[in-house]
């Protein structure tokens, strides 16, 4: 017994080193699974607050760019208003409401919640964004996040007043996408090299792709509404070993200067997921 204690005392530093090393690696490995722990909630709140302070200064210097982006978006949305399509004889009255069903009986599927970006990273291999909107204000996990110009990422963690977003510029992010021309679907991910470009995989070689074509979110992804801009094709690479193209896509969102984003709430997704989670019984 005495020898054991003496042994432990003698190698105390080595043991402490191994324990601390083990803890940090365990945190890293379990990060994605056990991030719901209370500690992370507190940490998220605190770092979010510091980030908000910093952003208050940074925001001021980016006001001009932010304004331009928001004005451009407003113009685009105004173009979609029904008043813009007024015919010679009109009998429609436009009401903007947030009811679950409109008068024609259509169910509202997506709701958009604006949020301010308080922390944003682009220089790592796995980048994350913090938004100033948390569980109290309706942010939920798995919500899609879009900016004025295109998609931004997906919510992975929420605290009371902040939420953490896995940016599109993350090695683990995957978005189901389609080409605007021809509706060929594929998968968009990031290779960790250049924050201005992402890669689109699995586009069949039968697709007639040209540089400059738009890439949109597909209707297969539940987090994003279909048809939201991801980017434009910048280069086309054919993979000789398979029948697929690999497209280099320039993101339409400028991740360097993003200041505002919208959380997308798919209000009827729970039902779809419940159905899909059931084991098929076709026998």
């Amino acid at each position: 017994m005495r020898n054991i204690i003496a042994f432990i005392r003698h190698f105390f530093n080595l043991f402490l080193f191994l324990i601390l090393m083990g803890i940090s690696l365990a945190i890293l490995i379990n990060y994605n699974q056990t991030y719901q722990v209370v500690f992370s909630n507190i940490a998220n709140e605190t770092t979010g607050k510091v980030g908000a302070r910093y952003n208050a200064v940074e925001y001021y210097f980016r006001l001009k760019k932010t304004n331009e982006a928001l004005v451009a978006e407003n113009a685009e949305l105004r173009g979609l208003l029904k008043q813009s399509f007024e015919g010679p004889d009109t009998s429609s009255i436009i009401k903007i409401d947030s009811l679950l069903k409109d008068t024609l009986g259509r169910v509202r599927k997506f709701q958009f919640l604006p949020a301010k970006v308080v922390n944003n990273n682009i220089s790592d291999q796995n980048n994350y964004i913090t938004l100033y909107r948390g569980a109290k204000q309706g942010a939920k996990k798995e919500m899609g996040v879009i900016g004025p110009q295109g998609i931004v990422g997906k919510v992975i963690d929420t605290s009371n007043n902040y939420c953490r977003v896995m940016s599109l510029l993350n090695r683990n992010s995957k978005v189901s996408a389609m080409l605007k021309k021809g509706f060929y679907t594929g998968l968009v991910d990031w290779d960790g090299k250049d924050p201005r470009y992402v890669t689109m995989h699995n586009v069949p070689k039968s697709a007639k792709v040209k540089v400059g074509d738009s890439v949109l979110t597909s209707n297969l992804s539940g987090s994003y509404p279909p048809g939201i801009m991801i980017g434009t094709v910048a280069a086309i690479k054919g993979d000789p070993s398979s029948g697929f193209f690999e497209l280099k896509v320039k993101t339409s969102t400028d991740f360097y200067s993003i200041q505002y984003a919208y959380l997308v709430d798919n209000m009827i997704w729970t039902e779809q997921k419940q159905l899909e989670a059931k084991t098929p019984k076709d026998k």
């Binding site: 105390f12 530093n13 940090s24 890293l28 220089s123 291999q125 250049d194």
Partner: protein, 180 residues
């Protein structure tokens, strides 16, 4: 200013500078990322024991990690260099005289040659382990070699600039201050 206060200020300052200045620099290339935060561990005083040194490094790394969004990724390399630091210092300097008369590792207390070796080895090991953990996740050997080389070089330049900008006086510890 006492040693304790100075190091608490450094703790906050290094994290804030790394998170809000160097992490905001648009990346030139995927291999190049400016890291300087671990200079905090390199600059810690001689008198801290091995166990407290590792615990401080652990807390420091974890704090930085919560800002960067990847808990554990930078903590492990921080603990690693904190563990190796005392061995390296014992090898590089005449312990008796230097550690009794100077507060912390610096050019003045160790001399140019020893201090440069000390910084070079710790920087290299820190970044090698950091990139190695990333590499385990993504798996690309060229990425490993390229990023370790380029990032170590950039970090050394940053540390050199920091040494030039903030010359520490290398204050002698008098007997009055020596209160253990």
């Amino acid at each position: 200013m006492t040693n304790l206060l100075r190091n608490i200020i450094r703790f906050a300052l290094f994290i804030l500078v790394q998170v809000f200045v160097f992490n905001k620099v648009p990346p030139v290339h995927e291999f190049v990322k400016p890291y300087i935060y671990f200079l905090f561990i390199i600059w810690l005083p001689f008198t801290i024991g091995r166990a407290p040194l590792m615990l401080i490094a652990f807390i420091f790394g974890l704090t930085y990690d919560y800002f960067s969004g990847t808990p554990g990724l930078h903590t492990a390399p921080c603990v690693f260099i904190a563990y190796l630091r005392p061995f390296l210092l014992n090898l590089l300097i005449p312990q008796e005289t230097t550690q009794l008369s100077f507060a912390e590792p610096s050019v003045k207390s160790m001399g140019w040659g020893s201090y440069a070796t000390y910084v070079l080895i710790l920087t290299f090991l820190h970044i090698a382990l950091l990139v190695f953990i990333e590499w385990m996740e993504f798996g690309d050997f060229l990425f490993f070699i390229g990023k370790v080389t380029a990032t170590t070089a950039l970090s050394l330049i940053l540390i050199f600039i920091a040494e030039m900008l903030f010359p520490r006086k290398g204050k002698y510890r008098t007997n009055a201050g020596f209160s253990q």
